[in-house]
Symmetry: C2
Subunit: 639 residues, 2 copies
């Protein structure tokens, strides 16, 4: 039986487990990447593990999220990451170099390798034929320390591309179409593997647009074969030596299949407020627009921006539109500054901002109240632009550029304008934004810790007797955003858990953090689906800092449950959900013989006030037990 | 008796009064400019005056301060200004076009004309031979409404330039030298007029650097003659027709004189935390630097940035330095994107950020804690960078660029490197960032008012008895930055005085606004040079909102004094400066028969607690008295 490309690469990296959906495997991680908003925590954790040398072939610390620097905090984070990178042999990419995923594609991605990144759009590397997975920061720290990563074995979806895109239709429209078909939950627990004749007509950066935004399917990752186009892309970056041909077996068996006829696609847009709320630009109609934003890790490649430049050349941006462009990397911007493409954009009235994530993560360029904003980005969640009542539409660079001129959402196919084809360029390698850790190590490099960077909170060995006061009795569907809000006001404090902890649960209960500090040891009672939403590790770290010992809920969201265990906080599920109602705020609880009970996987919680005992379901794996007894993952690794 | 150039231009524009120092004149204003952080208030005021048509020859509304847009507020301000500009016949310069002063020099400045701008660096236009004055926003609104502006007749200082600058010494070093000689108070009530052979060796943009930063002398404005260099600059911008030759009479008589031998100057730097704390780079020594920032209305001209590019070409920015460059205008950036200069900068590892004020006004790029930051800007007040404990040094672009490579403050003359000369370029006129008000007027244009735009506070008729509690006893050299901080956190609220007022004087006294609210009617005791620094009207409007009735100080900075009178707040000067020490916080003061005393121009303040009476100097003009009695300028105009 033939193999999928995904399983071939996983098999090559298998350390533990078998490749059967339903099980769990541990794989070797060749490369890691971090960005700065998750990175400070990753490197605080790496420091806490006290290792001698990282085990990956290559690890890179990028700065691309917090580059506005509207206070000392951002620059302090950059300085901290630079210093820790030096200590541990990690490459440091200075702010201004560009967006991590675009930079990694250009400079370091290698077909057939594995990449773990502390950013959900790490699958961009799949455009080069890598297994590139986004993960929590602690997982990335552990991957650097141990060289491995554990994950549930994914299923593989085949997406077969046939035909060829017409002018004004591009890679963004392909992934928008796939999102329309599979929805934002369609990829959960799966790798999306692209095959078929149509693949040959897509450049590596086209492919990277698709694998990048595959994150919006909820997929583990997305993957393209490595072929002649891959070879010429690597050659254009001066890295032909990194080329390996890779593809699935012709008779590979997939778990699911989707066929896409490229020649039938038209320009599409994801309407507010979800990336899978897709319709054709033609159907949506010529709505008036206030802002157009081009860039982000999805659509800021050289080819994307050259197409934009060609469309803007000699034209004038509509007076009612603010067009803002952020190139993906310094190399791209430099090339466009050499060949006149950037001048064309500026002359048309485009705003050029720094090579960084910028407006995609709400870091600047928030549109006006009630605005319609077209963006070439990957997410259009309500409020993500920084303007709560703005309507964000996700479109291709071509659609964005022609619409910026017209002042209304415009289907380029209907406009009748010609689109020139953009040849791939050769780039001159330039590492002037890279700080190498050569000659530096743990002993000759000081860690730079600005006043906003606080040590990472750590748990202790699980005691035999665990007592706690109920500090919150929460409802159903509590999100990680409820637990630890992460707006532009709090983002600069990602490295400062003691400060962040003051805002823990603030939307639900303003007194939560004060109450925890008084109680010293706390417990949370939760409803169904506790901890849903983003994978935010800080939603476990802030409660840890506040002394939360266990959460007793009707059910847990998967990633948050892992994050709690990683922090040594017990996630316990009511055996009888009706017990939920019998608790109230301020009551004292106790788990006797806690260590033995955890080992036995049956934990009984006693309410000291009522004397009543409650059986809970733990579903602990052996690894979970090890971590809980040690007081979290880092302590467990240090042993 | 020969005339100074300053008096020639003033005479040409005289509407009322006589040109004798000590008196007050009203002059015709040909042009106005606003930027967005003061502009929203200007246009709210213009709207409140309910005029039919503006009376200036040209008025331009620029957007350059609040361009980060970390929330909906900035874009709402832009939309508001654009809509009001359309209603009143004002040109609107879209965000991304660049910095108002650089843009005005390039596109609209005309020798011999008068320009009033709601930004303290409006004197930049003096480089073109204009009388260009920075004023409070209300003055600019009135200039648009009535076509005039009133000011005390300034004295004229002659600065005679001889010799020629050596390589690595440039216009910035000239103004730093002048600041060292005259100090930040040396220009108060004066126009600084540059003459002498040395003038011929300075291009218009060199001159504009000098007149721009002349604002730091506290001068009314600074002025260069209009000569062959002016002609060729205007020609390079496609505006040769705007050229007029202008100079002082050979036998002109000046009030003061300063001689500067250009050939004796060396690279200079203003040390923390004042622009007149000047020493030579050589004396300061090779201190380690963390950040270099190049740009701002002082040093972001084409020639400045070309010099930087030539220095950076083929070099690598020091790994420990973050070099950030913000070009002055879209035209400059476009030209540098065409001729490879921008690529040289990027390739060396420079961060390119939007054409805007940016880090100069603390709008992003705050350096790390305790950093040393070299900046080509005009102000290095403590905390202005957004990092309270950073040390900011003001230097020339040449010194900034060579230091960014070396990683330490570097004197280029000593470095021995050669500096190529940069020829003036011809620019192709491009108005794609400009929105013209053609065909629009008050009746066919709606005002766009986002939710953060609040009506501006208005005073009432001056009562007969003015009582107030001392809410602050401040020291010398209080800046408008001290009075109304304007960091990245607060800038988005420039259109929202009720919110801003909460942060009034917060760096000096955290309880100030609370104390004012309790006192209801407040008075401030100040030292020398109260209200120096930027022209920020909000430094009068926030105190107005908080109920401040008068400020009693040893002396006032000119623009702030006007802003106080415009708001109906009395600026009173101690007849005996030693009286300053006899006041203390919380004491109640009274001005009896206030209306009559103001009319008599002698105001006596009585301390109710001690019973002691204090004579004050008012120096009120008749117009001042009219405004104070009416409760501010708008009330006075509406009558």
């Amino acid at each position: 039986m033939g193999k999928t490309l995904a399983y071939k690469i996983l098999e090559n990296h298998l350390v533990e487990g078998t490749l059967t959906p339903g099980g769990e495997i541990t794989i070797k991680i060749d490369q890691t990447l971090t960005q700065d908003s998750t990175g400070t925590m990753v490197y605080l954790q790496l420091e806490a593990m006290n290792i001698e040398k990282i085990k990956t072939e290559l690890s890179v610390a990028y700065i691309d999220h917090n580059t506005l620097q509207t206070g000392f905090e951002n620059a302090d984070d950059h300085a901290f990451i630079k210093s820790v990178a030096k200590r541990h042999g990690v490459l440091f990419s200075k702010p201004g170099n560009g967006i991590c995923h675009q930079l990694h594609l250009e400079n370091y991605g290698i077909p057939g390798k594995t990449l773990l990144g502390s950013d959900s759009h790490t699958p961009t590397g799949g455009g080069l034929g890598m297994i590139a997975i986004g993960a929590g920061g602690l997982d990335v720290a552990v991957a650097m320390a141990k060289g491995t990563y554990s994950l549930p074995v994914p299923k593989v979806i085949k997406v077969e591309l046939t035909g060829k895109l017409r002018p004004w239709v591009s890679a963004k429209d392909i992934i928008l179409y796939v999102l329309q078909q599979l929805t934002v939950k369609g990829g959960v627990g799966k790798i999306v593997e692209y095959t078929g004749e149509g693949v040959k007509s897509l450049s590596v950066t086209d492919r990277a647009t698709i694998t990048n935004m595959g994150a919006e399917l909820g997929a583990t990752t997305s993957l393209f074969p490595s072929d002649e186009n891959t070879k010429s892309y690597l050659a254009s970056q001066g890295r032909e030596k990194d080329y390996v041909e890779l593809s699935a077996d012709a008779d590979a068996v997939y778990d699911e299949e989707l066929k896409v006829d490229l020649s039938s696609l038209t320009p599409l847009a994801a309407k507010p407020h979800s990336p899978d709320n897709v319709d054709s630009v033609k159907n949506i109609g010529e709505i008036k627009i206030n802002q157009v934003a081009i860039g982000s890790c999805t659509n800021s490649s050289y080819t994307d921006l050259m197409k934009v430049s060609e469309i803007l050349k000699g034209q004038k941006i509509h007076p009612d539109v603010s067009l803002v462009i952020s190139p993906g990397s310094s190399k791209i911007m430099s090339k466009m500054a050499e060949n006149g493409a950037l001048a064309n954009m500026i002359n048309a009235g485009a705003r050029i901002i720094e090579n960084a994530c910028g407006p995609c993560i709400g870091m600047g360029q928030s549109p006006e109240s009630g605005a319609v904003s077209l963006r070439t980005f990957n997410r259009n969640f309500k409020g993500r632009s920084g303007t709560l009542d703005a309507d964000v539409y996700l479109v291709s660079p071509e659609t964005a550029a022609i619409s910026a001129i017209k002042g209304v959402l415009t289907d380029g196919m209907i406009s009748g304008c010609n689109l020139p084809s953009i040849p791939e360029e050769n780039f001159i390698p330039n590492d002037n934004f890279i700080v190498y850790p050569k000659g530096t190590n743990k002993n000759n490099t000081e860690v730079s810790m600005g006043p906003n960077i606080k040590p990472f909170p750590q748990n202790k060995n699980l005691p035999d007797e665990l007592t706690a006061t109920i500090v919150l009795h929460a409802g159903n569907n509590i999100t990680t955003d409820d637990i630890m809000p992460s707006d532009s006001r709090l983002l600069p404090y990602r490295s400062n858990i003691p400060y962040l902890a003051n805002f823990c649960f603030e939307k639900i209960d303003k007194d939560f953090s004060t109450r925890c500090k008084e109680a010293k040891e706390g417990a949370i009672i939760g409803g169904e689906n506790y901890g849903q939403g983003s994978s935010r590790e800080h939603a476990a770290l802030a409660p840890l800092y506040l002394g939360i010992k266990f959460v007793l809920a009707k059910s847990f969201a998967r990633i948050h449950r892992s994050n709690l265990i990683n922090s040594g906080i017990l996630p316990l599920v009511f055996e009888n959900p009706d017990d939920y109602d019998t608790f109230s705020l301020g009551q004292k609880l106790i788990i006797e013989n806690a260590r033995q009970q955890v080992k036995n996987k049956i934990v009984i919680v006693k309410n000291i006030e009522t004397g009543k005992e409650y059986r809970t379901i733990t579903n602990f794996s052996d690894l979970d037990i090890e971590m809980i007894l040690a007081g979290g993952k880092i302590n467990s690794i240090k042993k």
